[in-house]
Symmetry: C2
Subunit: 403 residues, 2 copies
């Protein structure tokens, strides 16, 4: 009997009607002769509401207690969903992350899964029950409740699919699948039938919000077939697999507006200065994305880099301190930047893709501030106001739209 | 170092301001050189809101899943309260019932505590932390989450006080303590400084809603000093101890409007007929309170009894069936009845208390429909409309008011 893991996000269980509709879909899957394990997120905006209560109490809630609080959200979902399954005559049982021993490290609010004890799940599946597991949460060796960070339910689903050797892992979302570009921005954007793990990884990390990065990494490592599907219709969605069906030059255009650019000005240029700067920044736990260093002029150089826009407030004082220490002239920063990227495993075998991207942006009169490339993606930092124009023109340039 | 268990009800943690105020009180207790374990209920009307979601999904939610759902309420409280303690610079840590192994039987929604593993709590107390434990919940041997029924947080508090050999157990409520009568009904009602377990048990079971019956039983069995205190002021409250300070005739007048009276009419009177009726009723899981059987007339008798008003709908069809089977003429029922009681350990040594109660009610022209007595209480069933008059006149008759 095939075993399917299905994951439903928070918007799919936001209210009683939606919960009932998810239950009907699960029942259909079970009726077709599948064993079904369901992973579910907290209903709607529950997590955000909990966080705002926490911050109303204190600006610095201890992370262990934040996890204790947030974990209740998924527990609400699993119990209500299981009740809905019962009421449809579909035998089901709910489990929290700790109950199925989703063992994690102790990095509260962003814990990583170490192992899962699938004993109890298998026992209940054998009894013919649908097993409903709380996403996003686990337990540490100290028996403390932990959470996996934003989008952690995807990771729970993939980890369960791996541990249970599931035949497939279906991720239900409020979009119809993975697109060649954000369909709200590019009307002709096309749904991709298949995409490779690597491409999806670049898309995730570049700001396409369909799936959590870590869950795709995990799926790649254990070769779990991921199927991203809409929760509101029966459409096909997108398969995320080892290799895409075709290997066109590029499979999609993506953007990320949550970017900030920082420039440390007039740094005395000496060997090892970049290493000195960035090892200090790393110590402050700030993730740096792109880096450029301008040509040295009179022994002075400018060092620019980007970080997540949300980190800017926290990062700036630390960076100003570093700048002072290395005797730089000053620090400039801007949140008015964004990253536009093209992604595709076929890129390597099609020379000139980068040149085509740059000239396309140039034709539009868009200034490129920074560039970074990998084997399967090219990213450019541009002004935030020019994102829409950039994405649309690149999407057209590479012939990604529906014909 | 003295160890104090404090329990705060749902209204004490209903919003962020109230949570902060509770945190300040806990900090004061800790600062005075006490070890503090706090038990807390779900915030405000959370439990009721969860239940209405559950019943929106299905008329018969499985009880295991109800417990899974309800247990989140206390988890929200413990995390937020612990954050508030941290923000006051008071080291604290929260635990769910399962985390401190509050082991219960498997009677979901009304489980009983079997044991508590105090290891982790003691370890954290030793580190100088306030330990905040979720009330109302536990875990079964099957590792399922269970709940203890309405008011279960009181039981959690007393059970923890027992297991930890606490020096006292403070129950914070939204009233100022235990009164000689409901202060909303009797203006001159007086707060009792001390009351015995037995008196409190009668008051709890007779409808005074300050504390859960089981928690007082447990406190009596293990001789845990209970201190009922207002959460909104620093007033004294009431101590519940082995023996009251004085032993007046009676310590209070109480009432319960949630009563229904059922009469099985014209039952053929033969030996064992009452046993036959009430063993059948017991099989249907209906709790019977008072019973009277009228004198036999022409071989026929009326059997009347009271049950909780809320059970009437469920009980009536079963009782009608029994009546039919024993060839009784019919069944009459009424919810327009109430129980008025006087309670006091001193009653036994003061003869004539019962007579004084009956004549007091007679003087008021109140008809007594049924009577039941124990060593420390006398209860009368009267018309529901006459409750207020009965309570006020009995309170005056026995000189319970403030002088």
């Amino acid at each position: 009997m095939p075993l399917i893991v299905q994951k439903y996000g928070g918007s799919s269980v936001a209210d009683v009607e939606k919960i009932k509709s998810v239950a009907r879909r699960i029942k259909r899957t079970a009726k077709k002769g599948n064993k079904v394990v369901v992973v579910v997120s907290a209903p709607g905006d529950t997590t955000d509401r909990f966080l705002s209560s926490a911050y109303e109490i204190t600006a610095h809630p201890p992370e262990r207690e934040v996890d204790m609080l947030l974990a209740t959200g998924e527990q609400i979902s699993i119990s209500l969903l299981t009740m809905a399954l019962h009421s449809l005559g579909c035998p089901a049982i709910s489990f929290t992350g700790p109950q199925v021993r989703i063992l994690t490290d102790t990095a509260h609010t962003k814990a990583r899964i170490l192992s899962i004890d699938t004993e109890r799940i298998k026992k209940e599946l054998k009894k013919g029950k649908v097993v409903v597991v709380a996403g996003f949460q686990g337990i540490s060796r100290e028996e403390d409740i932990t959470t996996l960070g934003r989008g952690g339910s995807d990771t729970t689903a993939v980890a369960l699919a791996t541990s249970l050797k599931a035949d497939s892992c279906e991720i239900y979302t409020d979009v119809e699948g993975i697109y060649t570009a954000d369909p709200r921005m590019v009307l002709s954007a096309k749904r991709l039938k298949r995409i490779s793990y690597d491409e999806m990884l670049e898309l995730s990390s570049l700001g396409a919000k369909v799936m959590q990065l870590r869950s795709v990494e995990l799926a790649k490592r254990y070769n779990v077939k991921l199927h991203v599907r809409p929760s509101f219709s029966n459409k096909e969605g997108t398969m995320i697999v080892k290799k895409g069906l075709e290997a066109p030059e590029i499979c999609g255009v993506t953007y990320d507006k949550n970017q900030a650019k920082i420039t440390i000005q007039s740094v005395p240029d000496r060997p090892g200065i970049a290493a000195a700067i960035f090892s200090e920044i790393a110590k402050k736990n700030i993730n740096v994305d792109m880096i450029i260093q301008s040509a040295s002029l009179k022994g002075l150089t400018d060092v620019s880099f980007t970080i997540a826009g949300a980190d800017l407030g926290k990062a700036l004082p630390a960076i100003k301190e570093i700048a002072k220490r290395i005797k730089a002239k000053g620090v400039a920063s801007s949140k008015e930047v964004a990253k536009v990227s093209i992604v595709g495993v076929g890129m390597g075998s099609h020379p000139g893709v980068a040149a085509r991207m740059f000239s396309c942006l140039a034709k539009e009169g868009i200034n490129i501030e920074m560039i970074s490339t990998s084997e399967i993606k090219i990213s450019c930092v541009i002004g935030e106001k020019e994102v829409k124009r950039a994405v649309r023109s690149l999407h057209k340039e590479f012939g990604l739209g529906r014909s």
